[in-house]
């Protein structure tokens, strides 16, 4: 009957003295009551309550000792990773041609080819064809509308470069800054040719010696 971890053993009614107001048939035999009391889930009486009073329960974002708490802290941090500022998105539907293809397949193909080589202003490493940013959608709308009107894709590119600089296009042009990009392969090929030629002449000279 004595339980070391239990400060106040619960009242166990004796079958001989039924409590007032409890019907005889609701009373459980002693063995059953004792068995239930030995249930490990139930034999943690007042200690947890007392400790809760002394040390109030920690809030989930408060770091604390113990594995359980650190896991909770980690879970909170993981959740915080996906936090987004409230109301930082507009509520308007996308522009008409942001997600709708042009009716003419040839024009849609021209628009698609151009959109793949235009850079998104919001997600700066994506093309506007790949990005779901509102501004990329608006830019696709501009591209499709202008192509539908019969404008040349390169003219649209030029229109955007005029406003945002070469930055907005993924198709590099030859300029004072970008010329090494085009010159490098030619220079490397020439260099390789010179090295190979040297090697062959040397091998020939050695072969002549032998």
């Amino acid at each position: 009957m004595a339980r070391p971890d239990c400060a106040q053993p619960p009242f166990i009614p004796s079958p001989s003295t039924p409590p007032v107001g409890v019907a005889q048939d609701k009373l459980q035999p002693l063995a059953e009551v004792e068995g239930r009391d030995r249930n490990p889930l139930r034999i943690r009486p007042s200690t947890s309550r007392q400790s809760r009073e002394v040390y109030p329960e920690r809030l989930p974002w408060q770091p604390a000792e113990g594995l359980g708490n650190s896991v909770r802290w980690l879970a909170f941090l993981l959740l915080a990773m996906f936090a987004v500022p409230a109301a930082a998105q507009d509520s308007l539907p996308p522009a008409p041609y942001a997600y709708r293809q042009l009716e003419d397949p040839a024009k849609e193909k021209a628009a698609q080819d151009l959109m793949l080589t235009l850079r998104c202003l919001t997600c700066q490493s994506q093309s506007i064809a790949d990005s779901d940013a509102a501004m990329a959608g608006d830019m696709r709308h501009q591209v499709r509308e202008r192509i539908a009107k019969g404008e040349d894709p390169e003219a649209i590119r030029a229109w955007l470069i005029e406003r945002y600089g070469d930055w907005v296009s993924y198709e590099p042009r030859v300029t004072t800054i970008t010329w090494p990009l085009f010159a490098a392969p030619i220079v490397l090929l020439l260099l390789a040719g010179v090295i190979v030629r040297k090697r062959f002449t040397r091998a020939k000279a050695q072969g002549d010696k032998i």
Binding site: D90, A95, A134, D138, Q142, G165
Partner: protein
């Protein structure tokens, strides 16, 4: 091969290391400056955003007096921080015309009621067309337009209180 050539791979490695390290230590500026500075404001004609302010068109910028063209939105958080600064500029006698980007009239009205209305005119652009015209890449952005309709300055991001004298200076230069 000459003996110095064996150092070439190491030198190449050192060069690449320096390039990558400098990129990591000082990442490049991600803001996209408009190439339209010094060029005339492109033609546009936008509908009214709110009933108590007139609509906005290019013709409104050729009256001879420099103005601010502010691109904003009710859903834009930095625009809330910018609102009192724009009010301060408006009190200083600056004419500010606004364009609400991808916005609904009730939302704009609520935004102006809550954060103040420093605008003389407000146009409404549902497809961000004016941003592509101006070379603007986000909200908020503010452009100084001189009296002849030439863009003279672009301010990317919200105008902070300590930048008010600079904006006033830019307006004076545009005269």
């Amino acid at each position: 091969m000459k003996h110095w050539a064996i150092w070439l791979p190491l030198a190449l490695f050192g060069l690449l290391f320096a390039v990558f390290a400098s990129g990591l230590i000082a990442p490049g500026d991600r803001t996209i400056a408009s190439q339209m500075i010094g060029k005339p404001l492109p033609d546009f004609d936008l509908p009214q955003a709110v009933p108590d302010r007139p609509a906005l068109a290019r013709a409104d910028f050729t009256g001879g007096k420099p103005k601010l063209l502010n691109v904003f939105a009710s859903w834009c958080v930095p625009c809330i921080a910018e609102a009192p600064v724009l009010a301060q500029l408006a009190r200083a006698g600056v004419e500010i015309d606004g364009v609400a980007i991808r916005d609904r009239t009730p939302d704009v009205q609520q935004f102006l009621a809550r954060h103040g209305n420093p605008y003389t005119r407000i146009g409404r652009d549902d497809v961000s067309k004016i941003q592509f015209d101006l070379g603007s890449s986000g909200v908020p952005e503010t452009f100084v337009i001189n009296g002849k309709g030439i863009i003279t300055y672009q301010h990317i991001g919200e105008i902070r209180a300590d930048q008010v004298p600079m904006i006033l200076q830019k307006l004076k230069e545009a005269q």
